[in-house]
Symmetry: C2
Subunit: 364 residues, 2 copies
Amino acid sequence: MTDLKPISFARGAPSLDIVDVEGLKAAAQAAFTADPGGLTAYGTSVGYLPLREWIADRHGVAPDNVIVTNGSMQADAFLFDALVREGETVVVELPTYDRTLLSLRGRGADVRMVELEPDGIDVAALERVLVAGARPKLAHIIPNFQNPAGYTLCQPKRERLLELAREYGFVIFEDDPYIELRFSGERLPTMLSMDPERVVYASSFSKTVAPGIRVGYLVGPRALIAQIERLATGTYISPNMVAQGIVYQFARSGAIERSVETVKTALAQRADALAAALARELPDARFVKPEGGYFMWVELPRGTDVAALFTAAAARKLQFVKGTDFVLEGYESALRLAYAGVTVPEIEEGVARLADAYRELTGA
Amino acid sequence: MTDLKPISFARGAPSLDIVDVEGLKAAAQAAFTADPGGLTAYGTSVGYLPLREWIADRHGVAPDNVIVTNGSMQADAFLFDALVREGETVVVELPTYDRTLLSLRGRGADVRMVELEPDGIDVAALERVLVAGARPKLAHIIPNFQNPAGYTLCQPKRERLLELAREYGFVIFEDDPYIELRFSGERLPTMLSMDPERVVYASSFSKTVAPGIRVGYLVGPRALIAQIERLATGTYISPNMVAQGIVYQFARSGAIERSVETVKTALAQRADALAAALARELPDARFVKPEGGYFMWVELPRGTDVAALFTAAAARKLQFVKGTDFVLEGYESALRLAYAGVTVPEIEEGVARLADAYRELTGA
């Protein structure tokens, strides 16, 4: 067993074979040729202007509503710095992205987790929290192919969320890095497009270009974006101009559309393979096959000790992330499987190892 | 006067003609070719490992003592987040870099400014502050070709500063972006090399590669670097991998040495031209000709209203930064002239405009 090749269902990142390295090389040449001054000089904190305009255009907003940042996590950090004081209430999904949870807790926010269902956050439960007196500043929602669950927020719930936001005076933080990665079903409108004054929207090029390019952005009301501009100026003067210039050329040349097609095709195959392998090898696993994105949430029978399963899997050189990482408490029998970074044969081998570890654990 | 071409002595940035754009293009190709996985995947918060090692090697430290960041201002922000609590005392030079001053004041630090002399901070004055009871956490020092003054810290004062740091238990924050840009005189050892446990050293590739590349770094004691690694992970996962890959190839290919030579040659000519033009056109100006870097500090006779001079210069489409921007109070008769972004003819024309504005102001 010592010479087993490691397999990781842990990391939410694409495998190198679906990254358009040649396209990036060409974009780098084009960027330095087209705008050497813009790439090499200091910019301002709003980001590289041609890219900012391209993003604004995609979202049907003015450039003033957009700020480009060094990755979308940095965008989240600025947004939280601008809006979330210590003790302030923030609603998040249960489960949710572990780094968002850490970032909010690190700021001393009063984090209220509201159950996520396969069609999105339980809006009735959220309403009960609001009626009971909670007055959140912000509700953090990952609407498409949620991390960690892979679930997508349905249209009626998008509408209801906006109604609640207007009624109770909170901002919806629509965290949407996976939107372009839908490989089945129909695309839903962003909440940003439904009510631009009530929503701050974050996304990035990590999933459509490459994670190492570290370019993300926020779209939101003008005054809030201006406030974040000041925070960004004081933090780093300007985001990375070279990386943004490369992204802009990658986008305007059409390479980004081809890249998204490559990624979606691979993800669809990988999600299919994962679902089929789980159904075959681990029939106790409950999951909803995602319509896009990187992640599948797996629930094992109540009482299954996923921490022990993690150890048994690690002994078989298989990695995943425990469900407990995405919540404040509970979820000891759930896990997140990321399928973006693994090929179909690795998925099949990985699930076989997982099932083997599960059998050892349960004595089945 | 309306069709005058604007001239700026304000911005601390190189003109495009001394940036090696072709070298950057070649470095980008080499980087994507040599290490496509390393450039396109998420990294970790310590930075791109080959670049981290290259930096460690240059400073004679272990890679564990280095963290690469999105520009050195971001490095400063992490360092202040790690070390400077509200109300904590921080010593800075008088005058000093305006953004550092803003950043420290924004954190509620008790900022103590200690007079800068042409051979560096007045260590006797600093000692008096310490003897009087101040217990700073940090002393921020720009040792070479200081911003805004252009002055350089002499060797005896480097030694004395380290003695005081040891005696009074503070850390020296050696902020050294200009070290490679010495065009006359002899290079002095860094305080980092003199006492690596007492110093946190910051620098960047903004002045040796290009500002838009936004790659900076910190060198310091292992425990502090580890603490900053955690802050960086929580802020942006990893700094820009593409930009760091490009810098690494630019450095290892030797392009960086050629770039530094180009920049130094231009800066020496520009500093000469500026000093000569001031001596000729504005004999009231007092200044010390710098031995490197981007900046010259100019003092006009006591009582000269540089705010009014700024307005009179702006009417002649000439920009500079007022001395008052670099201090908490006073210095109304001083200004900073940056000569890195202007050619020799622009310098001559710019000084002529400045002298004309001064004559208008003083009625001379």
